[in-house]
């Protein structure tokens, strides 16, 4: 009889211990996450779908708990309930299939997503039935003032490339610059190569490259680092020699010289023809043909008479 009493005591103790661990009612498949240091901000985005497809871009800079809600007006035949699910980057999210009831002629899907790091960004879609879809593209905020034309500079000269974030957008934590190495992006290390100098202010960064060579031409990338990820801007650099603008310069120079010579020669030949025709038209000739100086003096005397 003592062993069964001992067993019961152990069981009671076990129950007490398990009760003391708290209310773990639901069997969560994932381990309990560590409590976050700062409370996550809340944000919500919603969209209404009238056709088959709709896309909305959402720019983020710091981690959020994002509530996405989709409303669909439905098809011609509106069944009382349909199946809806969520996808991330085209892949269906596990356990997201729910049955959606028809309320006020609309179907509604709402889900909260925890967006903490760069891998949580992407294309979140809510799908009604099999076809009707709303895409929410969650991405790092893009930089304004994209420069689509290349920056041109010269050999042995220097160049300054700038990236800016608009006034009303949040300030990046830090700035990085990358140069393209084949298909990869390689970060520029200013201590390693003396030719590169990075000056970063809050909303602006400048990359100064000195002593340019033809090899320096290509794509450069500026990265604005945010808590959620890095926003990348692109600047293209073109390096040319001074010969390039010199060619049109010399062409136009030749054109000018030719025109001036032609005009002056034409005038010289006309003047010779005139003087060869004789001086019969000049009855009161008291000034020379190129009488600008004399004319000025003549005017002088007229002026003085006044």
């Amino acid at each position: 009889m003592t062993s069964s009493w001992k067993q019961q005591l152990v069981q009671v103790l076990l129950v007490l211990v398990s009760c003391g661990h708290g209310d773990t009612k639901t069997a969560a498949p994932t381990p309990t996450p560590l409590p976050p240091v700062t409370p996550l901000k809340q944000d919500a985005k919603s969209a209404v779908l009238t056709g088959k497809n709709f896309t909305e871009r959402v720019e983020l800079s710091s981690p959020v708990n994002m509530t996405l809600s989709c409303t669909w007006k439905g098809d011609q035949d509106k069944p009382p309930n349909i199946t809806g699910h969520w996808r991330k980057d085209g892949q269906e999210i596990q356990d997201s299939r729910v049955t959606v009831m028809l309320e006020d002629e609309n179907y509604k899907l709402i889900q909260v997503f925890s967006v903490v790091s760069e891998k949580d960004l992407g294309n979140y879609s809510c799908v009604f039935g099999n076809e009707a879809r709303i895409d929410f593209i969650l991405e790092v905020l893009q930089m304004g003032e994209k420069r689509d034309k290349p920056v041109v500079s010269y050999i042995r000269d220097f160049v300054v490339m700038t990236c800016k974030v608009e006034e009303n957008k949040p300030i990046p934590t830090t700035w990085n610059w990358y140069t393209s190495n084949g298909t990869d992006k390689e970060q520029i290390n200013t201590t390693a190569s003396k030719r590169f100098k990075i000056v970063s202010e809050e909303r602006e960064t400048k990359l100064k490259v000195k002593d340019l060579t033809l090899d320096d031409a290509g794509q450069y990338y500026c990265g604005a680092v945010y808590p959620i990820g890095t926003s990348v801007g692109q600047v293209e650099l073109k390096v040319i020699t001074f010969m390039e603008p010199l060619k049109p310069f010399i062409t136009i120079l030749i054109e000018v010289v030719v025109l001036v010579a032609a005009i002056l020669l034409y005038e010289r030949s006309r003047a010779k023809k005139d003087s060869a025709e004789g001086t019969q038209t000049n009855a009161e000739q008291n000034t020379e043909p190129q009488g600008d100086d004399k004319g000025a003096e003549g005017n002088d005397s007229v002026r003085q008479r006044k």
């Binding site: 300054v160 136009i252 000034t287």
Partner: protein
């Protein structure tokens, strides 16, 4: 005294002169009014176009230069201001040189100067370098283009002068419109250094313009047969005498021996007696006030549009509309100014143009929405073009062609202040009140008041000149009658004395 190139109705015995016969000027020769003169207009078109459009078109490079030298926007904007200031301050220097050497050498030297300035600037290493090269040397070079171009038109044209002036002033919007996309193309291809180099060669075309400015042939003297068909040749000659004697009736005292040597030396090259010329003083005082409000509305048109909510592309389109209207109205204005109803009263036409500008700006704040702004751009283009076409024609009309060179030099250096201060003052108004409408009201007042002033003053001036010419004409005809009487008397005495038959 007053320039007798005013075409007024003067009764001289039998004859009535309506349009000015070529002799009623103090030029001493007959301006061709055509022929090579049109080639000169082309040359002036190029020179004036470069002078006005070049500083404005350089602004496209400022952003990159600002990043390159790591300076603030206002420091870069100084390049434009220094260039404009040098261009206006170089006016008197230009006048002296034109008076001495004629238009052609000055324009060619000016073109060379700007070219060298741009080439040096393309090699520049500091922003000061740019101020000196582009600003000072470039500005002076452009001054050496502007004045002679205007002056030479006055020597080649008399009858068709307003038309020639209008055509030449069209150079400004045309060159500006071609430079805008050209500069963009150069910038995308070569960056700012290469663009400055190529611009240096493009601006050498001013030398071509200078080559066209052949000094006018002054051997062609007054021919009696060229006078207006209604008048007899003799009466037209009398008109010339009226002119001459009107001048001699009032000898100028300033060149007396008591004056110091240096003053008379300078006054040989710049005519300071202009400050005693009523017409010149009217023009000067009016335009000093007017220029405060002249350029600012152009500068702020695009920012105002963006402030109203239009996008950048539509705002730029407004400026294009403005330039297009401007381009077409200038020759038309010249043509109207040449017509026989307007030419005698061209100062009133000028006053109207100034006042119309003022009214346009005062009504601008009433424009609502983008369509309203388009309407405003059209009307402003009309106003601006009209005024620009007449700006120098009015001065030429007042002081006469041969004093024009000195006059325009003095006018530009005095206008230097308002031209430079105008946009910053307007900008300050916009910043203080955070609303563009006060700036437009101010500019409207700045232009309307001189316009009305011009109307009133020229009414009196025209009357005074009319009276003076009538008086001189009376004097001449009195003298003529007196002389005729004396001759008759002498005949009689001769007859009675010697009983001879005189041959009449």
């Amino acid at each position: 005294m007053y320039s007798a190139s005013f075409p007024l109705s003067v009764k001289l015995g039998v004859c009535e002169l309506n349009m000015p016969p070529a002799a009623v000027t103090n030029l001493g020769y007959v301006p061709p009014d055509g022929g090579w003169g049109w080639a000169v207009v082309v040359g002036a078109f190029i020179s004036i176009g470069f002078s006005y459009a070049f500083p404005k078109s350089l602004t496209i490079y400022f952003k990159e230069i600002q990043e390159y030298f790591s300076v603030s926007y206002s420091e870069i904007a100084w390049v434009s201001s220094v260039m404009l200031a040098s261009m206006y301050a170089g006016g008197p220097v230009s006048s002296i040189l034109v008076n001495r050497y004629g238009s052609r050498p000055v324009v060619m030297v000016g073109g060379l100067m700007v070219s060298i300035a741009m080439v040096l600037a393309s090699l520049g290493t500091t922003i000061i370098h740019l101020y000196l090269c582009v600003g000072v040397i470039g500005g002076f070079g452009l001054a050496f283009n502007l004045q002679p171009a205007l002056t030479i038109i006055g020597t080649y044209f008399q009858v068709k002068r307003p038309l020639a002036n209008g055509l030449a002033m069209t150079g400004s919007p045309v060159v500006l419109s071609t430079f805008a996309p050209l500069n963009q193309f150069l910038f995308d291809s070569f960056g700012w250094r290469g663009s400055f180099l190529v611009l240096g060669s493009i601006v050498l075309n001013c030398c071509v313009a200078g080559a066209l400015m052949r000094p006018v042939d002054k051997r062609v003297r007054f021919k009696p047969s060229d006078g207006p068909p209604r008048c007899e040749g003799g009466a037209a000659e009398e008109a010339a005498e009226v002119d001459v004697s009107a001048q001699s009736a009032d000898p100028a005292p300033e060149d007396g021996p008591a004056e110091s040597k240096s003053q008379s030396y300078i006054s040989r090259y710049i005519d300071f007696s202009l400050f005693r010329h009523n017409g010149f003083l009217i023009y000067l005082s009016g335009s000093v006030v007017m220029f405060f409000g002249f350029f600012a509305p152009v500068v702020f048109l695009a920012p105002y549009a963006k402030h109203q909510g239009t996008d950048e592309y539509s705002a730029a389109l407004l400026l294009s509309i403005f330039a297009l209207v401007d381009m077409f109205i200038r020759p038309i204005t010249g043509f109207i100014g040449n017509s026989k109803w307007v030419r005698p009263r061209i100062q009133y036409f000028f006053s109207f143009a100034v006042s119309y500008n003022g009214v346009c700006h005062l009504l601008c704040p009433l424009a609502s929405g983008y369509e309203g702004l388009v309407v405003y751009a059209v009307f402003y283009g009309l106003a601006f073009g009209m005024l620009s076409a007449l700006l120098f024609e009015a001065l030429m009309d007042l002081v006469g062609a041969h004093r024009f060179s000195s006059a325009v030099g003095l006018v530009t250096i005095i206008e230097c202040g308002p031209v430079l201060l105008g946009p910053p003052i307007s900008g300050a108004l916009v910043d203080t009140f955070r609303d563009y409408k006060y700036m437009y009201y101010a500019c409207g007042i700045f232009m309307l008041v001189p316009g009305i002033f011009f109307f009133i003053m020229h009414y009196y001036n025209y009357k005074k000149v009319n009276e003076e010419l009538m008086q001189s004409a009376l004097v001449i005809s009195n003298n003529k009658e007196a002389l005729q009487l004396r001759i008759n008397q002498d005949d009689e005495t001769m007859k009675s004395k010697y009983g001879l038959d005189t041959v009449d």
